[in-house]
Amino acid sequence: MNWDEKEIFRVIDGIAKVEPGPEATEQALERVRREIVEKGTKRSKFYFKTGRMIMNYRATKFATAAVLIIGVIVGIYFMGGVDKVVLAEVVEKVEQITTFSYRMKMHMSGMEHMPKEGMDMEIHATISSDIGMRMDSYMKGRKASQSYVLLAEGTIITVIPDQKKYMRMKLTDEMLEKMEKESGDPKSILKEFLKLEYTELGRDTIDGIEVEGFEIADPKFTGGVLDNMVARLWVDVETNMPVRMEMKSSGDDGEMQVDVVMDEYEWGIEIDPSEFEPRIPDDYSLMADVKVPSMDGENVVEGLRTFAEMTGGRYPSTMSVLTASKEARQGWKKKRETEGIKGQPSKAELEKFMSVQMIFVFYAQLVQQDKDPAYYGETVTPEDADAVLMRWKIDDGQYRIIYGDLSTEEVSAEKLAELEEATAPKL
């Protein structure tokens, strides 16, 4: 088309003539009018409705924070996970790919403060094996956060524009090395993926593209971050590149659910390095500054101690992020109520909350790295001083143990077996 001014004006005139119907206009105005009059204008009182969704803005903030954390964690784990199946099919082809982007749509339901219909989040992710990753998250059509995984600095920065705040998460050397390795060396991802069992689903058509499907039901795919997980990947039979990935997961005995769909993949894209530079306006404040626990587990002990303080002496019943996050939030809420703490959480409180979340990130690393981890929080309490609460393999076949009283010890595999036998719940 010849885009001269005359043509542009012709199209602009068309847009200028677009008018909504009077009924639609009145409906839109009435909806806003009702909200202003009935609910007031203070942030804490302003309710907003979208279709069937009715949310209390302040209460939703807590759910939003949880959703963001889960979104970031899931997104990070897919940094490597996305292309694992594809690599099994096309390792040579993707060997040279160092940049790609995708869209992730996530629907979560069953968490407290969420509307019955649940909440939706959309993430647009761009990955460069040299620089890192950028994820832009949107909720209800509004930008909820921007996260930057900066490989050079070993940091994840999450900016939350609505709250004018940002979080900083320092990665461990091991995690960083793994991320660099996975995003830069597709073969290593393939090798890891091939350890998992998958089912071939046969052929189907998505958006007119003939695809072949694969299904994985192994929680290791997301490092145990999500439980009861089933993931499906659909690959274009012509190009051997992924077209769509679907994942369903649940926690808290099926009460909480997370559905993820990833699509709009673009491979070998041009990257503007400036897009990976965190943009934090001067008036934004640091919301939390946390470290992913190192493999020595000292920070895990601290995280577990904090969790027990929050929940009146209980440990997380599981290392699944959905269930354990719910327990942490409930415990935290109850503690605040008991101690008469009101208002927005302080930076110290948020850092504590985040440090607890980091236990699950750490555990997911152990699963992905085949460190033979196990966790017995469902039965072990702080009173069970000699019972194994958590363990994982370290070098030379030795195991590190965290006991119920949070003391730690390194033992052989044989000794571990004895300990676990002695403290296993009697049925």
Partner: protein
Amino acid sequence: MEAGQTKLLHVLEKSGAKLYTLLVKLTLREEVAEDLMQDLFVKLSSSNGFERSENASGYAWRSAINLAFDWRRRQKRVHDGLEGKLLAEQNEPSPLARMVQAEEMQQVLEATGRLSELMREVFVMRYFQQDSYEEIAERFGKQPQQVRAMCSKAMKELREFLTDKDRQKVEKEAEKYHELG
């Protein structure tokens, strides 16, 4: 009633219908415009800038434009949205002509989204909303001739974006054809 509520209601009664119409023009979808309208007032209710602003309606206009283009950036192009219905009601062209028109509108709106924020706001008010240079100048605290110059520059950039995009499309198709051959 609180002062904040009164201010919001004033903007709603004075400019609400026009704001909604603007959102429909920029999104080409009524239901999206309705949601964005709600988002707009949520945003205004918690905005210090709006609270302090002496020209509340002007602030709302600019926020609405930015919200609409933020939404556009996140959307894939759709051809089965409201644009078809709206165009059909106005011109009753053939289905093919409707598709072409809708595609052209999407292209122009997409290119408009690539203009700088100020230029985009001025451009939208002038051409999509058909406000006078004087009205726009008043909203931005500028002279009408400055607004006119900005519109002219915006049109030049828009043309460049559109031409460049067409060129890229042709090159891509040629490349594909070459690969197939």
